[in-house]
Assembly symmetry: C2
């Protein structure tokens, strides 16, 4: 499966937000994440970088 | 491998932009894509939706 783990950068440290993420949908208020089990999480952030082969998505906070 | 194919929405049709994309990096001017062979493409667009399990990333044009 090709889901990814999503991290958010806080003070130069990466904090895990959600594992096994399938869907990533940018919205006005932030990024909506949905994992392979259907669990959703809305994060007030923007996408900084995605490395799909390494299963990593990095977000950064919206200040 | 968990790369994805990137499409852009034009007039409600999906047009293939780049296959086998590994890295997706939003920038001021648009989205920088890099495939698994290192080929890069900068697209004037924003991310509309990503479905990683289906290997699909949908962009929409910035007007």
């Amino acid at each position: 499966m090709c889901e990814a783990n999503v991290y958010i950068l806080k003070d130069d440290r990466e904090e895990l937000v959600l594992e096994s993420v399938d869907k990533v949908i940018p919205q006005e208020e932030g990024i909506l994440l949905e994992d392979i089990f259907g669990k959703r999480k809305l994060v007030r952030a923007r996408i900084k970088e995605m490395a799909l082969v390494n299963h990593r998505i990095i977000l950064e906070e919206i200040k």
